[in-house]
């Protein structure tokens, strides 16, 4: 409206109507993409610890092999590392969803590449089975 044009009521209502239609379309697309989102499962390098997140990013399962129980002092941190890996993979998946929703306006993938350390990103992609 910086050009001095004052929209009339009908024009404003039509814009609002369009905004509502756009929001509904985005929401429908979100529901569709969210339904397609997979569970994320990350496994420690030795294969003894498994962490699974559901499509909402919640930790729903932690599998600990009996061999890992012997680690005692380091087990907590080892689980923490696998949870972090699962979260990173989930974050990559969410970013892809956001990119699909946002169209070409914002390059979310580039933001992830810029801010997520390369080694974390590589592990996340491996977790998602993309190496």
């Amino acid at each position: 409206m910086s050009d001095g044009h004052v929209p009339d009521l009908e024009e404003m209502l039509s814009r609002l109507d369009q905004m509502q239609r756009d929001a509904e379309a985005t929401l429908a697309k979100f529901e569709e993409l969210h339904a397609d989102m997979d569970e994320v499962e990350a496994v420690s390098e030795d294969g003894y610890i498994t962490v699974r997140l559901n499509a909402d990013g919640q930790v729903v399962h932690i599998g600990i092999a009996e061999q890992a129980m012997r680690a005692r002092q380091t087990l907590g941190n080892a689980i923490l590392a696998v949870v972090a890996e699962a979260n990173a993979a989930y974050g990559v998946q969410m970013a892809e969803m956001a990119q699909a929703l946002g169209g070409s306006g914002v390059d979310i993938q580039a933001m992830v590449e810029r801010y997520m350390p390369e080694d974390v990103r590589e592990r996340a992609n491996r977790t998602l089975g993309r190496d």
């Binding site: 909402d56 919640q58 932690i62 092999a65 907590g76 923490l80 969410m94």
Partner: protein
């Protein structure tokens, strides 16, 4: 808004499982900051311990979301819902144990 950002970024909540076997410190957006396992945790099988850790994580995140909602409501006078602080996670139901 800076105050809010700091509040959410620095938020953490602790939950301890029954018999104190597992202690979890949760951060915002589904982060897990600490997992402490006491000696009695190793009396469980790996499968059981995994289940206890998952349940304690859920408690810690639920507590964090409720505390953040209360703090934000107090600071702003607006009614904040706990599920607003899940960082994309679905709402946590049930009470902390």
């Amino acid at each position: 808004m800076g105050f809010m950002k700091n509040l959410v970024e620095q938020a953490e909540a602790e939950a301890v499982s029954e018999a104190g076997m597992v202690r979890i410190v949760a951060g915002p957006g589904g982060q897990v900051k600490e997992i402490d396992l006491r000696n009695n945790a190793f009396e469980l099988s790996g499968v059981e311990l995994g289940e206890v850790i998952v349940a304690t994580m859920r408690d810690a995140h639920g507590k964090l979301q409720r505390e953040l909602a209360e703090t934000v409501s107090r600071a702003t006078g607006l009614k904040a819902k706990p599920e607003s602080f899940g960082g994309g996670l679905s709402p946590v139901t049930g009470e902390e144990r």
